[in-house]
Amino acid sequence: MPIDLIVTVAVQGILTGLVYGLMALGLSVIFGVVRVVNFAHGEMMTIASYAAIVAFGAWNIDPLVSMIPIAVLLFALGYAMQAALINPFINRPEHSQFILLAAVAIIMVNGLLMIFGPDARNVLVDYALDSIEVGPLLIDKVRVITATLALAITAGLFAFFKLSRIGKAIRACADNHMGALVVGLNVKRLYALTFGIGSACVGAAGAMMTLLIDTTPNVGPVFTLQAFVIVIIGGLGSMPGALLGGVLIGLTEAMAGLFFAPSAKTMFGVAILILVLLFRPQGLLGRKA
């Protein structure tokens, strides 16, 4: 097998994996702080994708531009969801939270079906089918852009949590809920803020994803599952873990497709999940409970 083919496929896999990582980042951030698993994660991302499609169709706005207002929109949606819907469930059993968010996910999918119908929609920008030549390699331009942005957003988020006062307060809530209450932090507001930040990541990822794949309402559950696989591999609650998990899945699927049967490449991603669960249940970069 030609070496340039292997390298091309590996690079494509890593780039795709970085976008996967951004997609899973929001899920990981929310769980890391609020300790609620957002089962409507993929569906929220699909809402963001449709927002980008509408912005492009109506005003010809490139998804790389519309991702900023969409991230703000999803922040508001996440904030409102946490404040109004999820907070009352925070101290209830996990299965109640699960059913609540699964119901939200079903409502979102069916709402999108009612509004947009089942047809696949996409955004075809001028550079959608461009490639970049690097020696003998031919790299998809859209993947390069989206992966770079995914890295930048992750770095920005990392800096926010490490350096800003609000970020530190959120981390304090995650580390010691009781302690945060004792020192007078408004934990409910910080939870809503975290849910909003996680949702904003989902918004950015959803807008970018329209450049890579076609969107249908039914793609939401697929994204949710994929995000779960990624964060479990990387470690629930770990931001670098989400990115690492994404890259690992992207690379594994690409290599499995190249060396084995392309139709079975998803199986290899899931095989990694099983291995991680067996030998490092907290995930590659996760902390033991």
């Binding site: 089942p118 696949a120 139709s263």
Partner: protein, 410 residues
């Protein structure tokens, strides 16, 4: 008040129940004299939704068009959505029959059609398959299952024959080909048929690689990189719609330009959404597929009505075959003068409709319930719509090959 059931009350209730049960068959007979209830069962949501909806359009138009043709079409259409899922298809078929459907029509997908066929056979309700190619469906000895669509071997046989015609007409004969197929029931049937039949057709090219991919794939970059690396001069894809779009998009990105891209008989390239999404990149691709006969007067009538009802949609084979399925059911209903399953099945078996929509011979079914008279044509995407280029007697335009470079298209 005592709620205990006395022996006398029990006897009276049992007698009443027996009377109702005894007269039930007469009620059925009474119901059977009315309109023909057609259960239209298609994937109208899920990943096959667009194609299921296209089938539905053919079904919805049929009663109106048949009446305009002077055919007595006393029908009531009942709709069900399989959600692109085999188990849902089975359950919805049962529900349609329980709700009184006299005939089932569907289901676009081979896996779903096979599940519906089992239910229809068990319940004794005729099932007319409009689109589904897996050969095993009509190899089970079913008495109530009929298919007005070619089997995978028929598709492949016609497809491979037409390939030779394309090479001859264009003067371009590839020496190598790569075969890519969606890894579902249909794709595997086609792959099996090609593997079995290709040696018999003395094809001028060698299949250098076969690449199967996930039907719900969101990305085909690896698959196309692998196919490109073979250096094949021709791509033979067996696709659905969404993956066909992904495939061509990825070919453009990876600048893979084989001389010919020709589907041996599969959906994807000739569908409205394909043109809308890919624009100029949809042009010059070839598909050997059963298609409507553009010279038929019924086709023209159906096309007129379709254009009036669905201005922005494309009239294609799913519409045509679905219309014909209703035509077969109505013809059988008129001949049998009954809605009873056995009578309708007998009438369908005797179908002989010479003037119809799709290319090929008379609409007839063999002892297995298969219409063996359907013929494929070669379609080429020109001006962002499918046009018949072979056979020449019904051709709408000239064949254009080799495939122009992706980067040199206006």
């Amino acid at each position: 008040m005592s709620t205990k059931l006395t022996r006398r009350q029990f006897a009276a209730t049992a007698a009443g129940a027996a009377l109702v049960a005894g007269t039930a068959p007469f009620n059925i007979v009474k119901a059977q004299t009315g309109a023909l209830k057609i259960g239209s069962i298609h994937p109208r949501s899920g990943f096959q939704a667009q194609l299921g909806i296209a089938c539905q359009r053919g079904i919805d138009l049929a009663p109106r068009v048949l009446k305009q043709l002077g055919i007595n079409a006393n029908v009531e259409i009942m709709n069900a959505d399989t959600e692109s899922n085999v188990d849902v298809a089975r359950a919805r078929a049962e529900k349609l029959i329980n709700d009184g459907a006299n005939v089932l029509i569907g289901a676009f997908d081979s896996g779903q059609s096979a599940a519906i066929a089992q239910v229809a056979e068990q319940k004794g309700v005729p099932y007319i398959i409009n689109v589904a190619a897996a050969p095993q469906i009509t190899e089970q000895g079913y008495k109530f299952v009929f298919r007005n669509f070619p089997t995978a071997p028929m598709l492949v046989g016609d497809g491979l024959n037409l390939m030779k015609g394309v090479f001859e007409k264009s003067g371009i004969t590839p020496k190598t080909a790569v075969f890519m197929h969606v890894n579902d029931t249909f794709g595997q049937s086609m792959a099996g048929a090609i593997k079995a039949m290709a040696p018999r057709f003395n094809l001028p090219f060698q299949i250098v690689d076969t690449i199967a991919y996930d039907p719900q794939a969101k990305d085909l970059s690896v698959e196309i990189a692998k196919a490109k690396a073979t250096g094949a001069e021709m791509l033979m894809p067996v696709t659905r719609l969404n993956d066909a779009i992904l495939m061509i998009r990825e070919m453009v990105k990876q600048r893979w330009e084989p001389q010919i891209v020709m589907s041996p008989g599969a959906p994807g390239f000739y569908e409205g959404q394909f043109y809308k999404t890919l624009g100029k990149f949809s042009n010059y691709l070839l598909t050997n597929v059963p298609w409507y006969n553009p010279r038929s007067s019924i086709t023209q009538k159906l096309l007129d009505e379709f254009t009036k009802s669905y201005k922005n949609e494309l009239f294609e084979l799913n519409v045509g075959f679905s219309f014909e399925a209703v035509m077969v059911a109505v013809n059988a209903h008129n001949a049998a003068k009954s809605t009873a399953g056995a009578a309708l099945a007998d009438a369908i078996r005797k179908t002989n409709i010479t003037d119809h929509v799709m290319a090929g011979g008379a609409l007839q079914f063999n002892e297995k319930g298969q219409n063996v008279n359907i013929k494929s044509v070669t379609l080429q995407n020109l001006d962002q719509r499918p046009k018949v280029v072979l056979p020449l007697d019904i051709a709408e335009d000239n064949l254009t090959l080799p495939l122009p470079s992706w980067t040199k298209r206006s």
